[in-house]
């Protein structure tokens, strides 16, 4: 079975079916709701930050049902220790934030997923929901973001880098994407249009356009991106917040000269207190695998350290586990999602493995890696194996047919729990993540893991920690 063709290439933005835009696959969500069990413990609710009620976090209606009065909850319901955080609380540097990128299918499962992480971490992890603006209609985006009640932060990413195919390797922007987001048809783009498009879908953290920065013309492209961000900052209304949004080819972090220019600019421009930085990884990186380029990872680390030193909120969208690792060095948040584009922002490559059946994979939290199902089945038979108690695993393991959707949801849920590892262990993020990686390295060494099931990144990470 090939590693390719597991749905990642289907997840490219701006190429989705308009007809599906208006529906939030509610039937599918209900179907999934029936499969999902929260058998351990009583139902959990958490107070909403605006005081409008309490959100059901587990059991029927999790993630979407809001009780106006907590007394309406079934007997035995427990309330989490914290409220659903406000946007500003979630953006504080001291609390981890996991962004979940809107998938191209199975959208209805996300509200429960977000709630399940809040419940599992006792509110220690804040959640964010991210849509790619050109990918769907305004109505569809707004409907999805509105349903993500557990998300403290709602982002509508304008994907300004779609104007820069000479800098980042991306799929050609579709006509429908250009129709939905007219700001992508003008260069230089209209910053006020970019902001308004985000407001229209209900984003509560606005982003600057996010043009891709050309490392061969470093200072000029930095100046241009920061000038656009300054314009965006000047265009904010009362109560709005902006993140500096940068899109970078990997060279910006792996090359010392480019990295110095980037970090110097970030240090100098103190007006931006939230950094939303996306780095493009090589096309050849396999699905669910992490980059192994030590220089690139050192660049990530140095960027995260700068954010920590300067008390900036640093968010790494579309990074999955590699973004999680950066929490150890000072990043505040990372982005993940059920599909490949939520876990990685990779160079677009034509071809791929279209038509191949998807690989049956399972994310093993103790290995910090997704292994093939056969490997997972073998691991489960071992005496010391600790089964996952997430809401998705009982259903996932209940039949012989592999349910890819449940496996993906388990993966994202597990990453949310990992984001809360510091709070769960009472350690600093650096110490907690170091111990988690060391434990995974030891666990991997005890298993005969090979091929795509081998967590090659752990050895590289060990050099960073």
């Amino acid at each position: 079975m090939t590693d390719q063709g597991d749905g990642d290439e289907l997840d490219d933005l701006a190429d989705w079916d308009d007809a599906a835009d208006e529906a939030l696959d509610a039937d599918q969500a209900a179907e999934l709701d029936l499969q999902v069990t929260d058998s351990d413990g009583p139902p959990v609710i958490a107070e909403l930050s605006d005081g409008s009620g309490s959100l059901v976090l587990s059991g029927p209606g999790a993630g979407t049902v809001v009780l106006a009065d907590a007394a309406e909850a079934p007997a035995g319901t427990t309330t989490t220790a914290t409220r659903i955080r406000t946007r500003d609380q979630a953006l504080e540097v001291s609390t981890p934030l996991m962004l979940v990128h809107c998938p191209h299918q199975d959208l209805g499962a996300t509200p429960r997923l977000l709630a399940s992480v809040v419940a599992a971490t006792g509110g220690a992890v804040s959640m964010g929901a991210v849509v790619a603006l050109p990918g769907r209609t305004t109505i569809a985006h707004k409907a999805w973001l509105d349903r993500c009640t557990a998300a403290s932060v709602r982002i509508a990413d304008p994907l300004g880098y779609l104007l820069d195919p000479r800098v980042v390797r991306i799929k050609a922007t579709s006509a429908s994407a250009l129709r939905r987001m007219p700001y992508l048809s003008t260069d230089p783009l209209d910053v006020s249009q970019v902001l308004q498009a985000q407001r229209d879908v209900g984003a509560n953290l606005l982003l600057s356009p996010g043009r891709a920065l050309d490392p061969t013309n470093a200072q000029h492209s930095l100046d241009t991106a920061f000038a656009e961000a300054d314009m965006a900052l000047a265009g904010l209304a009362d109560g709005e917040r902006l993140a500096l949004n940068l899109t970078l080819p990997a060279q910006w972090l792996s090359n010392a000269t480019s990295r110095s220019a980037l970090l110097a600019q970030l240090l100098d421009q103190e007006q931006f207190d939230v950094w939303y930085i996306r780095v493009q990884w090589p096309a050849g990186l396999r699905a669910t695998h992490q980059p192994l380029d030590l220089k690139l990872l050192q660049g990530y680390k140095r960027l995260a350290q700068l954010a920590l030193d300067e008390e900036r909120t640093l968010l790494f969208p579309q990074t999955g586990l590699t973004g999680w690792l950066q929490l150890a060095f000072g990043a505040t948040g990372f982005g993940a999602g059920p599909f490949g584009s939520g876990q990685a922002f990779k160079e677009y490559a034509q071809g791929g493995g279209g038509g191949q059946p998807p690989v049956e994979r399972y994310f093993e939290p103790t290995l910090l890696h997704s292994v093939e199902r056969t490997v997972h089945d073998a691991l489960r038979t071992q005496a010391n194996y600790v089964p996952c108690d997430c809401p998705y695993c009982p259903a996932l393991h209940s039949g012989s047919a592999w349910n890819h959707e449940l496996a993906r949801l388990h993966h994202v849920h597990s990453m949310g729990r990992l984001a809360g590892v510091a709070a769960a262990t009472g350690r600093t993020p650096a110490a907690a993540i170091r111990r988690t990686v060391q434990a995974a390295t030891r666990a991997a060494a005890r298993q005969p893991l090979a091929g795509i099931s081998a967590p090659q990144h752990l050895q590289v990470w060990d050099q960073l920690l």
Partner: protein, 273 residues
């Protein structure tokens, strides 16, 4: 000290005061004390008017006990022409250059106070529309009341706001070479990090009694100067707390981003005792 360009009685008459005391002379003008004020009179005919405007603009944006207070911006008739005249508070106590010249070195506690004061002034300056001084050096730092802990940053003639469009043509050096950051020596843009570097060099020079990178009376090409900065500063004398030494090391880093911001360095120094 260089002689003044105009006779004191002429200057006093032009300013409408009974007497003035000559404080110093720069490339473009003289500074006089008149009562409780210091008046900087731009005497050079070719002095770029943009610089005067910048100094006024920079100072009007800042409110800090560690940055000299501009009281009035106007002009005086001298030598048959109207000369720009900037009236500042007079900071009594001498400047750091004089302390250097007489080898008056601060104690560790005084050095911490000096460093904290300069970083606070730079932080306040940078917070004012991103104003960058670009020429911090011992002769541009007065000590209010002669106290090491009360430095006052003077002379914002080279200051610019990062929100302004610069008129400087690069490559070209603006600032005083011995205190310039490597990026300035290379003719690149001087940003906030350049002020942090200059603060680091200034305080290290006072603490160590010598310039941290250059030997006295030696001449260096720009490339040699940059190479010496890359090689690292002379060691600090013993007695400074570890966090203070760390800050002084960071401030003179070759890479801009390694220097940190004034705010993060103040945090490293910790709360004032």
């Amino acid at each position: 000290m260089t002689a003044p360009r105009y006779d004191p009685t002429v200057v006093a008459a032009a300013l409408g005061v009974s007497s003035v005391t000559f404080l110093g002379s720069g490339r473009f003008g003289d500074t006089w004390r008149a009562g409780d004020c210091a008046v900087k009179i731009i005497c050079a005919d070719g002095y770029p008017p943009e610089r005067v405007a910048r100094e006024i603009s920079g100072l009007s944006r800042v409110s800090s006990p560690y940055v000299v207070r501009l009281l009035h911006a106007g002009s005086v008739a001298l030598g048959g022409a109207d000369r720009p005249a900037l009236t500042f508070e007079y900071v009594e106590g001498g400047d750091l250059q004089k302390r250097l010249e007489v080898s008056d070195r601060p104690t560790p506690d005084q050095a911490i106070g000096l460093l904290r004061g300069l970083l606070t002034g730079v932080r306040d300056l940078h917070a004012a529309d991103g104003t960058v001084h670009r020429d911090i050096k011992p002769s541009n730092v007065a000590l209010r009341g002669g106290e090491w802990e009360a430095p006052v940053i003077l002379d914002l003639g080279l200051a610019k706001s990062t929100t302004e469009t610069t008129f400087t043509v690069y490559p070209g050096q603006v600032g005083t070479t011995a205190y310039m950051a490597p990026e300035q020596l290379q003719g690149r843009r001087a940003r906030k990090a350049a002020d942090l570097f200059a603060v680091g060099v200034t305080v290290r020079a006072l603490v160590g009694g010598r310039h941290p990178f250059y030997d006295d009376e030696a001449a260096y090409t720009y490339d040699e100067a940059i190479a010496r900065i890359e090689a690292g500063p002379v060691r600090l004398p013993p007695g400074l707390p570890g966090n203070v030494a760390t800050v002084l090391d960071l401030l003179v880093s070759h890479a801009e981003h390694e220097r940190g911001s004034a705010t993060s360095n103040l945090r490293r120094l910790g709360a004032k005792a």
